[in-house]
Amino acid sequence: MTDTPISVQARPAIERGFRLQWEAAQNAHVLLYPEGMIKLNGSAGEIMKRCNGEASIADITADLERSFDTTGLSNDVMAFVSMAVAKKWLRIPA
């Protein structure tokens, strides 16, 4: 498969059939899908919960930097989103 680079203006959304939710028993965000579950680490959970199909990757990065009072997250966010799109956890609506 050839990976076309994802634009920072893209607005990622959770893939159809997947559901993201906070699980207190696991103290983590989990991604639920047909007959399976992925337990997300803290930063993955923070990124994923902002992927609502409306916020762009640039918006998500800015929001994270504001929320955690930091800078320079854009590469990390883009790397995670690209991975999640490749794994089909996220989709980029046309």
Partner: protein, 385 residues
């Protein structure tokens, strides 16, 4: 027990039962010869009523259960399925319906969607009407095709499951073409697991090694074809392996099954294991069943293991394999799963495979010797009068 070996760990306190499987009923319109349900299902007690199932959902969710399978039998045989789904959804479960499709009309799928059902896995017995209908001892192929269209219409990902065995494994190409035509997103080609009715009919169902290899090859080629994406899972029959599967990731670690009569089991086949008194949700809470009951603690950790598992470095990866398979082949559930070639009983598996590998010039006498037994209440009663 004698002096404990240093590398035998005490049973750890388990995490939550993340995976809850409710076998809502043993009633089923199909009579599949490869069903894993117990062959004595006709003599199990009455089914739980709606209130019991709702209580099970609430108690399990409170412990952290999150993936929910609704199965059976045919779960659509319960007319309170929509109510069960609605409560499960309200509680935050991800809900998988595992169905033959019989009973799923537009009214019901609409109600299930509204109730919050997340996913439907539809089973087919074969790509051809004749074989599908023969293997399930019903006329259901066309009905299932209609259900597949309904699943699409209601915007569910289409997940098809086909159980493979000697009689349909040579049709894998046709099965995949059928799935493609139906617009399936996922296809599970699951080789039969030999428990229950499948164990009873094993000599007729186990494919030859050559059949398995050919089916794998066809699957590989199909994956490489151009066109719409379709994920294909090919589950190899473990009889052809040299190491056992890590069954249920160890009994009592994440899976909890509740049988139609309320019996709580660490896997859906465990009812057969002798000497264990499994608790019932009619009289015990899910919390006490999961954490405190003797039968759920029995196979946790590795103190129960015998050699060669006990001193084997791979025990933390495969947990000695499947307890039910160990019991079925060797009569002792604490033995190594004989699929493992380190097991002193491994020859029992290879002998079964050797018999399956033999060319079957005269299939007819074999069938007359031991006919296929369809999964029906009558046959169940006949086997266990």
């Amino acid at each position: 027990m004698n002096s404990p070996t240093p590398n035998i760990a005490p049973a750890p306190r388990p995490g939550p039962p993340l995976w809850l499987l409710l076998e809502l009923t043993y009633r089923c319109p199909l009579h599949c010869v490869f069903c894993y349900n117990p062959t004595d299902f006709a003599r199990t007690g009455p089914e739980l009523d709606t209130e019991d199932w709702l209580r099970v959902l609430r108690e399990a969710r409170a412990l952290g259960a999150v993936q929910l399978g609704l199965s059976g039998g045919e779960p659509l045989a319960r007319d309170d399925l929509e109510e069960i789904v609605a409560e499960a959804h309200r509680l935050g479960f991800y809900i998988n319906l595992i169905t033959s499709g019989v009973g799923l009309n537009e009214t019901r799928i609409q109600a299930l969607k509204a109730a919050g059902l997340d996913h439907i896995q539809l089973s087919f017995q074969d790509s051809s009407k004749q074989m599908n209908d023969f293997l399930s001892s019903t006329r259901t192929f066309e009905l299932k095709s209609k259900v597949a269209a309904l699943i699409k219409k209601y915007d569910y990902p289409m997940v098809l499951n086909v159980v493979l065995h000697r009689m349909n494994i040579d049709h894998v190409q046709e099965i995949l073409e059928m799935a493609d035509r139906m617009g399936a997103e996922y296809v599970e080609l699951a080789n039969t697991q030999y428990y229950g009715w499948a164990w009873h009919n094993r000599e007729q169902l186990l494919p030859s090694r050559e059949q398995v290899e050919r089916a794998e090859q066809v699957t590989r080629r199909f994956r490489e074809r151009a066109g719409r994406p379709m994920q294909i899972y090919f589950v190899v029959p473990d009889y052809f392996e040299r190491r056992p599967k890590p069954c249920m990731k160890g009994l009592g670690s994440i899976f909890l099954t509740i049988a139609p009569d309320g019996l709580a089991l660490p896997c859906h086949a465990a009812r057969m294991l002798p000497g264990l008194e499994f608790p019932n949700v009619r009289t015990s809470s899910i919390e006490s069943i999961w954490f405190d009951s003797e039968s759920f603690n029995h196979f946790r950790g590795d103190a129960w293991m015998k050699e060669p598992c006990r001193s084997c470095p791979e025990k933390t990866r495969d947990f000695g394999g499947c307890r039910c398979q160990a019991y079925l082949f060797t009569g002792d559930a604490a033995n190594a799963d004989p699929v493992c070639d380190l097991s002193p009983h491994h020859h029992l598996v290879t002998e079964a495979v050797d018999r399956a590998n033999r060319p079957q010039a005269e299939p007819k006498p074999r069938v007359e010797e031991k006919p296929l037994v369809f999964r029906t209440p009558d046959n169940s009663t006949a086997l266990f009068p």
